[in-house]
């Protein structure tokens, strides 16, 4: 036993010795060197005693610290040579989360309803003409250089970037644009319905210039029809030299033939393979952008979109570094991922983690319902709603209270600020006493059960919510609870999206939690949602009518004439919004949120709130910008 102890101590000492020997601390050594030193001495020269200084060489022994030899640098990571990118290595590949899969994965026609656009086709291959910048509100050029209207907004001139080529080497030019417009005109409404409606003709001026003659003035022609605004540009330009053979039935063209190199688009990647749940794209080193001086080749050699089924499977893949960019995730799942894989980041470092989705949530009320036709009662609901509490409970802190119906992007700030200044913005907190006073002023009184009642009728508000959207269900539950606290007998009814639309159309429907995918850089599109359209007798699912609605429609019509972002449109926005608040057919609640975990194990420079070169959604077409900006992790 004693021997064993001795052996153990010796092993410990040897280990410590090795440890010390292997450390990279500076070494201490004794060295002897010859140094020149100045010596002062007294000498007698020519009978005089003088002090002189001379330089003398002496041997000096000293203790010095010597820096350890530099550590050998890490061997460079292996690289996949061109031509073999299909087998690119993990550090050369970006894995994206495909939140849906497709029954026909081999159909690359971008106009199929459930098409494969957002599993890489429009992020890696289809390049847009323009991309809207959510923060600045500017429309940034991509394949298009500029698109300018005439003074009356009924003629637009598109200038294309020089040097753009399709992936098969053919030049991308005005002929392709004109052909695509004509294809849309023939195939509408299956494809390009809005182009067909607004474009009387498209004329080639020269190889890089196209003139659009519109059927009516449209200040949003560039933004709505030819830019990535939300999700993607629906009206992608296609190569004339391929699609002209399918002009009779363009919807039936699958746009896939690996022998011919199809699909052909202008992006820096090509389709390499796909399985039932995966789409693989490899980099095209001959991408036009390099020669044209537009941009460098993106660093990733391979991009893969994988559908992992449920959130549990996606989270498992993220923890195992089998995903680099995830689709929307619950806070609980993100925290579980981050606990196991701390390399995951989100839009914000800490709560709310989430990026704001462009579709804020609101409570719509049936203004034709016998009870809720009274605007004062709707205003009471608005006073009873505590938006901060909805964010805290329904979103677990991962969103923001809405100040208005608009999405709170930088480009919308000037409009939202104007509403706040005019006293039209929504309060983040509730005022239950004011809500009760307003209800009581209309003749309602609390009964023994604590509900407001008038003429034997209890004040009820049924809120319809969507089975498929946990977020919307949760919002509904919190709002119903807040209303119950002020004496409104409110309950939620959960329905699938399909029957929900039917139920909302019934006269007995009272309210629903809904979404407003409206303007991103201007208020017109959002406000137009309640307009009802030309000749309408009611506005939106709220069935809004009356003098305020008529005045509102006129104000919105006026707003339609302003170019997006025009500062002159601020006051008309306030004017229109005042009617909305006056009648309150709907009540803004919260901003929608997207919690998108991003993995920094292999790739860095993801967009974040501190680095907002674009937004972090990777299923939308702005992902071109993300892919071009990604850098390998060191």
């Amino acid at each position: 036993m004693k021997n064993r102890n001795v052996l153990f101590v010796m092993l410990l000492l040897v280990s410590l010795g090795l440890l010390v020997a292997c450390t990279t601390e500076p070494e201490t050594v004794v060295e002897t060197v010859i140094e020149q030193v100045e010596v002062t001495r007294i000498v007698e020269k020519e009978g005089e005693t003088v002090v002189e200084t001379v330089v003398q060489e002496v041997e000096v022994t000293r203790v010095v610290e010597v820096a350890p030899p530099p550590e050998p640098t890490a061997a460079p990571l292996p690289e996949t040579p061109p031509g073999q990118y299909q087998n690119a290595l993990r550090h050369e590949t970006v894995f994206f989360d495909a939140s849906v899969t497709h029954g026909d994965p081999a159909n690359f026609n971008p106009w199929i309803l459930d098409n494969v656009r957002d599993v890489g086709l429009h992020q890696a291959m289809i390049e847009p003409l323009f991309i809207l910048n959510y923060e600045t509100g500017t429309i940034d050029p991509y394949l298009g250089l500029s698109m300018e209207p005439n003074a009356t907004f009924d003629v637009w001139t598109l200038k294309l970037r020089d040097g753009v080529k399709w992936s098969d080497g053919e030049a991308f030019n005005a002929d392709d644009v004109v052909f695509t417009v004509q294809m849309f005109q023939a195939a509408a409404p299956d494809m390009g319905a809005d182009v067909a409606r607004w474009t009387a003709s498209a004329e080639k001026i020269d190889d890089l210039t196209v003139q659009f003659n519109l059927t009516a003035p449209n200040p949003r022609f560039q933004l709505d029809l030819w830019s990535v605004k939300i999700w993607g540009d629906r009206n992608s330009i296609v190569p004339e030299h391929i699609w002209k053979d399918y002009l009779d039935a363009p919807m039936e063209f699958t746009n896939y033939d690996p022998d011919k190199g199809w699909p052909v688009f202008t992006g820096p990647y090509k389709v390499a393979a796909f399985t039932s749940n995966e789409w693989v794209y490899i980099r095209d080193d001959n991408w036009w952008g390099v020669a044209a001086g537009f941009d460098d080749l993106p660093v990733p050699k391979r991009l893969i979109w994988t559908h992992y089924g449920t959130e549990e499977t996606r989270a498992s893949a993220a923890i195992n570094n089998e995903l680099d960019a995830m689709a929307n995730t619950t806070k609980g799942a993100f925290e579980a991922i981050a606990a196991r894989n701390p390399n995951f980041i989100t839009w914000t470092d800490g709560l709310p983690y989430a990026w704001q989705d462009p579709c804020p949530r609101y409570l719509l009320i049936n203004t034709q319902h016998p009870i809720w036709s009274d605007p004062d009662l709707r205003k009471a609901v608005n006073l009873a709603v505590n938006r901060e509490q909805i964010v805290t409970i329904a979103y677990e802190g991962t969103s923001y209270p809405s100040k208005s119906h608009f999405v709170q992007y930088g480009a919308m700030d000037k409009y939202i600020n104007a509403l706040e200044a005019a006293g039209l913005a929504a309060s983040p907190t509730a005022d239950p006493e004011a809500a009760k006073a307003l209800i009581e002023s209309k003749g309602w009184a609390l009964n023994a059960k604590g509900w407001y009642e008038k003429d034997g009728q209890v004040l009820t508000l049924e809120i319809l919510t969507m089975e498929e959207f946990q977020e919307i269900r949760r919002i509904g539950d919190v709002v119903a609870e807040q209303l119950r606290k002020v004496g409104i007998d409110s309950q939620t009814r959960v329905l699938g999206f399909f029957p929900l639309l039917g139920a909302m159309g019934e006269d007995t429907a009272q309210s629903a939690i809904w979404f407003l995918c409206g303007g991103v850089n201007e208020p017109y599109v959002s406000l137009n949602s309640f307009h009802g359209g030309e000749g309408a007798v009611q506005g939106g699912s709220e069935r809004w009518t009356g003098p305020n609605w008529e005045a509102y429609r006129q104000a919105v019509d006026l707003l339609a004439g302003f170019a997006p972002g025009d500062p002159a449109s601020i006051q008309p926005t306030v004017d229109a919004y005042r009617y909305l608040i006056e009648d309150m057919p709907n009540i803004p609640l919260t901003q929608a949120s997207q919690l998108l975990p991003l993995n920094t194990t292999y790739w860095t420079n993801w967009p974040t709130v501190d680095n907002p070169y674009t937004y972090p959604a990777t299923w939308t077409q702005n992902a071109h910008l993300i892919i071009h900006n990604l850098q390998p992790a060191k």
């Binding site: 849906v100 899969t101 497709h102 029954g103 026909d104 159909n107 199929i112 309803l113 459930d114 098409n115 509408a188 409404p189 299956d190 319905a193 809005d194 409606r197 709505d224 029809l225 605004k229 939300i230 999700w231 993607g232 629906r234 919807m251 039936e252 393979a273 796909f274 399985t275 039932s276 749940n277 995966e278 693989v280 893969i304 994988t306 559908h307 992992y308 089924g309 449920t310 549990e312 499977t313 498992s316 893949a317 923890i319 195992n320 089998e322 462009p358 579709c359 498929e468 999206f497 399909f498 029957p499 929900l500 639309l501 039917g502 139920a503 979404f515 995918c517 409206g518 599109v525 949602s529």
Partner: protein, 338 residues
Amino acid sequence: MGGLTIRYLMRRIGIYLFTVFASATLVFLIARATPGDPVESRWRQIEMDQGQIPEIEAIIARYKTRFGLDDPLSVQYVKYLGNTARFDFGYSFSQFPTPVWRLIRRALPWSLGLSVTTLLISFFVGNTVGAIFAWERTPRFIKSIIPSTLIFTSVPSVLAALFLLYVFAMLLRWFPLAGAYSRDVQPGWNWPFILDVIKYGTLPVLSILIVNVGWTVLGMRAMLVTIAGEDYVRLAEAKGLNPFYTLYRYKVRNALLPQLTGLALSLSGLIAGQVLVETIFAYPGMGLLIFQGIRSQDYPVIQATSYMLILLTATSVLLIDLLYPLIDPRITHDGGQA
């Protein structure tokens, strides 16, 4: 003809056709009993995901006309029956102009592979374990182990799938998380692909298997306990036959018949259970197709997949009914027992 008569055959096929017809009618009616307009609903859902769609009303109108939803219900029904009888399921709403049969053709082999593999393993393993469980000569310690293998019987296959996924795909990384085969293999009759399919299919099969096998075990055990008291078993034992021979030849063989019926009937249940398992593993079978069809309110896909499942189940039951007299000579359909 092994106990089968033409009269019985005709009657049985008549019942089969009526079952299929009635079920197809129900599928048609149930799909349309749901409130709301499926085309409008689908497009509004897309609008929710992708932002406002200009000219959406015109698009919806075109789709309704294209899919005959403007027709009166009776006209839609007659067209539906005629088309379904010819296996012409039309086009998918959500993936127009992809024909539904193309989606089914792509999905059905995966689901059949999953179901048949699960059924066969469940049948052989379940019956073998059930027989061992019931055999009086089985050592006591083995008998005490067997019930612990049945604990998953009371667990839904979706939870079993999540458990297997967590342990074997995420922690141990022995199996892939999702899909049916890897991107590195070429689909076809080649070994790398076949091995890949087995690797990717293992967890989905296990998820369904460990939940279902217990019922087969318990069924076989119950049958054997009943049969143990039969005269022919007592006679065999009295003759001093080898106990294992008695078990195999006299007991198990007779106990297998009801198990075979259960096998056919469990096919539809298995496929129904597969919906969630396939969704969890993103396995591209009929289950995932049904899930996607329901999610996108794709009438033609929902109708076609439901119809195919009905047809599959009804045909399996018909085949078992017709095969019974061949398996058991005591059963006859010529008017009485042999």
